[in-house]
Symmetry: C2
Subunit: 148 residues, 2 copies
DNA sequence: TGCGATTAAATCGTGTGCGATATATCTTGT
DNA sequence: ACAAGATATATCGCACACGATTTAATCGCA
């Protein structure tokens, strides 16, 4: 009798598993920068646009304050960012790169090329895969909204 | 000047993000079964093949004992599995479904259809996406082996 | 046979990730 | 101006995830 409950038929498991492999691949690269993968994502976000609120960074990464606050405190402890209440709206905390945080970007520049080399996929193939994953996310989110 | 450090150009971020969305989608479905997503994966693995060692389950899910042991103890506390030292090789712990664990399979059967409905992708599209993610993983692992 | 190497789980510490809740600040309607 | 609601961040508790180490059992080979 066929069994539809097989791990290797689950798209979600492919994604779960690929996520772990990516993490494993990044770990030694990011260890040289003294960062974890989520910390790296926050730094990438800030290198693109500095001086953002916790809320804005969270919107980009789909993370909330319960995850970001401790993570940002660690980046602050590493001397990479500053956390200061916004004078105009004291509810908000503005995250800004320190000079050390900006300097780190130079050392992080080669990382994407490392990954691209390992993957050995063309720009079109990468873009196609990203688009399909985005579609998957959109479909899941639509269904969640419909069902409350 | 172009900036190659942009989150939305990172395949790894697409995967990281899609993983979170899948988790969010699964959470309410699995909450009805009283399981987290990784616990569900272990149960799916056991429903396919029962009576396995921690090592074997870990090989299938790419998890090690430091993650699996506490997780399996939680499944044991829920009454879904038993954990017993193998009489032939006392180093190994054999994980077996309890009757309650086997019963749970029935309630879990509809879950994959829920996901398939939400995704709205054909079998070929799903298979293609799984294959591409598998290729990505293989490439990353090959590179890691080459570089030690 | 016996002892060092290997193997299987478990344990420990740290860092996410997230539901639930708390706290402080701002906004809105009257 | 002020209370009610909304918003931004922080805190708490629990469950992964994983590097590093520990403990116990088995294996391999001189």
């Amino acid at each position: 009798m066929p069994d539809n409950l097989q791990l290797d038929q689950f798209l979600c498991f492919s994604i779960y598993s690929a996520e772990h492999t990516f993490n494993e691949f990044y770990r030694p690269l990011l260890a040289e920068l003294g960062l974890t993968y989520p910390q790296y994502l926050v730094m990438v976000s800030l290198w693109s646009r500095d001086d953002r609120t916790v809320r804005e960074i969270g919107a980009e990464l789909s993370l909330e304050s319960n995850t970001l606050t401790p993570l940002l405190k660690r980046l602050e402890a590493l001397g990479l960012v500053s956390r200061t209440r916004d004078a105009k709206d004291e509810r908000q905390v503005r995250i800004r790169l320190t000079e050390k945080g900006r300097q780190l970007k130079k050392r992080a520049e080669p990382v994407p090329a490392c990954v691209a080399d390992a993957l050995g996929l063309s720009g079109e193939e990468l873009e196609d895969l990203r688009q399909k994953l985005l579609l998957v996310q959109q479909r899941l989110k639509e269904t969640m909204e419909k069902q409350g």
